[in-house]
């Protein structure tokens, strides 16, 4: 056998685990979800033919007259509109800070900024229940010291969503590290040239740093957007299955989880899952389209 074919064969062998995983745990399940979305299958019965009916587009028609779905979309969009900018700005500022040559103990700072990211969400939720407690929580105690009366974060429907945003922004470690990797990849001679031309720190940041790391910023924003749309575990833990207080934490995926695993309505839940899938795919495609125009690529492929 020629060497090239032999190498290709080896390559295929190495890729096999992913082929199997992709087919068994991703591709076939998605196709099955599409099939299930045309049925009225309920998880209370065993999955065999005869235990469910084909209902055509009924589940999709139901999407348009589901009041909780509209509420859930509102909650999710509101959360996302706060989470995406926060999830870009906070890790970027942290990355710039720990990348600064003026920071003493930068390594310790990196480690400590990353620390909350490894805290399991159940533990984070309990910690934030305490910190955001209206009377004894440290946030409201600090606000009180400044003469501000803090809100009842977790029991006030106007604030519960934002409280979850705070919880989400606590885990910015991954974003910070990826952006830090980008910052360290910017060639220093560009900064030196700009300094000689008289550019100040802010100008260098806006005219050099941001464009140079724009692909990573786009990657972060895209992932942040997609993750925000799927956010719900902390909401389930804090607000329970009903999205308390008053449905203010009824996220899209909480609605999905209820339909599928509380009400066992797998047919309708499949339609909900596919709607989310389509939304995510469209948004990803849009982000890529925008990225192609705006992002700077070293080497100038764009």
């Amino acid at each position: 056998m020629p060497l090239a074919r032999q190498r290709a064969l080896w390559g295929l062998v190495f890729l096999t685990p992913w082929f199997i995983g992709f087919l068994a745990f991703q591709l076939l399940p998605i196709v099955s979800t599409i099939f299930l979305s045309f049925t009225d299958y309920s998880a209370t019965k065993e999955f065999t033919f005869g235990n469910f009916n084909m209902v055509g587009l009924d589940n999709y028609a139901r999407l348009f007259k589901d009041p909780i779905l509209i509420q859930a979309m509102g909650v999710t969009i509101k959360f996302t509109l706060v989470a995406v900018p926060l999830g870009l700005v906070v890790p970027l500022l942290f990355a710039v800070l720990v990348n600064s040559k003026h920071l003493l103990g930068a390594n310790l700072f990196r480690t400590l900024f990353f620390l909350p990211t490894i805290i399991p969400v159940v533990a984070s939720v309990m910690i934030f229940q305490g910190v955001l407690n209206a009377q004894s929580g440290w946030i409201n105690l600090s606000l009180k010291a400044l003469g501000i009366e803090g809100p009842r974060w977790l029991s006030d429907p106007n604030w519960a969503g934002f409280a979850l945003n705070l919880l989400g922004v606590w885990a910015v470690g991954n974003g910070m590290l990826i952006l830090l990797a980008g910052l360290q990849g910017v060639p220093t001679d560009i900064y030196e040239a700009a300094t000689i031309d008289g550019a100040n720190g802010l100008q260098r940041f806006l005219r050099i740093t941001i464009p140079m790391i724009s692909p990573i910023i786009f990657y972060n924003v895209t992932l942040g957007l997609i993750n925000s749309l799927q956010f719900f575990v902390a909401a389930l833990l804090i607000g329970g299955r009903n999205g308390d207080p008053q449905g203010s934490t009824m996220f899209y995926n909480l609605h999905f989880y209820r339909q599928a695993f509380v009400f066992n309505d797998m047919g309708y839940a499949s339609a909900l899952a596919l709607l989310l899938f389509v939304i995510v795919m469209i948004l990803t495609a849009i982000m890529f389209g925008v990225g192609q125009r705006v992002v700077y690529y070293a080497g100038g492929e764009s």
Binding site: P17, G21, F25, T33, A43, H102, G185, I226
Partner: protein, 366 residues
């Protein structure tokens, strides 16, 4: 003479400008570091809350004017009794008196500085007085001592063992499969490789909800629900995120090293084990930790697949019931949080240098 007297001022100007540059650098270092410390203080406030509360008595949390650190009311032993001490404002400044008999509008006190004077009566409400606090962490929230201590309510050793086993097995599966797949993508000319790689990357954005219902049905059919298999088996078939990270790192390893091994007669698998893996320790550490933390953290999959099987629960699902009773027993909840965080935090601190290197050097494909 003349040349020296001319050179002198130039040298001192240079020295002065060097000194001012050093001064400027020192002042920006101070400024940036102080700013960093301030941001860090706010950012890690919740961790401070967690640790202090875990060692506090629940009564301290509801007490007015109690200190933020774990403390108990100081006592004074008098006639075989431990009497609580209170700060008493007097004309001679604040003194500490021990409360012997509390009444409504007046109370009996004793002055520890002058016990020979005996018990005396004080007109005033003792409830408005501030107790004397002394630092004293309690371990009751961790142990059985408190009526609602964490150990009493959950079988923490079992939860811990379950979580550790799930995390270790699934991390091993992820490492084996992702290293193989990443090596395949990094080093071999497979037909259609670019398209395959794009498909792999696009699965990063695939919402798990789009697949979980059929998987749940499948795993139920196989009799796997109510066991760890749905959590463990998929880990052995690679995931896009970790493959991507490893592949980026592998691509940065010089190909000459592979070729040298090949010339020595090593086959591709031997090359992977002898050349690539030893070169990629930082990236492998990063993936190990990422996946370990992910599994330690995971709540949704065990919730769905292990429902009703409490003896198989990992920590995340096992302690979730404390979320609901937080307002009653905050100390217990925080003690549990501390126990949950401890192992990942220790791992992270020990491996952080390799971990940071693995991520920061790998970077993201531009």
């Amino acid at each position: 003479m003349a040349t020296i007297s001319q050179a002198q001022p130039i040298a001192s100007v240079e020295a002065a400008s060097r000194r001012s540059a050093r001064l400027r650098r020192a002042s920006s270092t101070t400024l940036v570091t102080l700013l960093g410390l301030a941001v860090m203080l706010i950012f890690l406030l919740p961790i401070g809350y967690m640790i202090t509360t875990a060692f506090k008595d629940d009564t301290q949390l509801s007490a007015q004017n109690a200190p933020l650190y774990p403390a108990k009311i100081a006592t004074y032993a008098y006639q075989g009794k431990d009497l609580p001490l209170y700060n008493m404002p007097t004309s001679a400044g604040t003194v500490q008196w021990a409360l012997v008999h509390p009444y409504r509008e007046d109370s009996d006190f004793i002055d520890p500085a002058h016990p020979e004077k005996g018990i005396f009566n004080w007109k005033g409400r003792w409830r408005v007085l501030d107790p004397v606090y002394q630092i004293q962490p309690t371990f009751d929230n961790f142990t059985n001592a408190a009526q609602n201590g964490a150990w009493e309510q959950i079988d923490f050793p079992l939860l811990f063992r379950n979580t550790l086993l799930i995390a270790i097995i699934s991390t091993i599966g992820t490492l084996i499969s992702c290293i193989l797949v990443a090596y395949g993508f990094a080093r071999f000319r497979v037909p259609g490789k670019n398209i395959l790689f794009i498909i792999l990357i696009s699965t990063i954005v695939l919402p798990p909800q789009a697949t979980i219902i059929p998987l749940y049905i499948l795993f139920t059919k196989l009799g796997w629900t109510g066991s760890w298999l749905p959590l463990l088996v998929p880990a052995f078939f690679a995931n896009a995120y970790d493959v991507f990270l490893l592949r980026q790192y592998f691509m940065g390893i010089p190909k000459e090293l592979d070729e040298a091994a090949m010339l020595d007669g090593a086959n591709p698998l031997q090359t992977l084990i002898r050349v690539i893996i030893p070169q990629a320790v930082p990236a492998i550490t990063a993936v190990t930790l990422f996946h370990f933390f992910f599994t330690w953290n995971d709540y949704f999959a065990p919730l769905v697949y292990l429902v009703g099987h409490e003896n198989l629960f990992p920590i995340s699902v096992g302690i979730a019931k404390f979320v609901g009773s937080f307002s009653q027993f905050p100390g217990r909840a925080m003690a549990t949080a501390v126990m949950t965080v401890l192992l990942p935090a220790l791992l992270f601190f020990f491996a952080q240098r390799q971990f940071m290197q693995g991520i920061v050097l790998t970077g993201v494909d531009k």
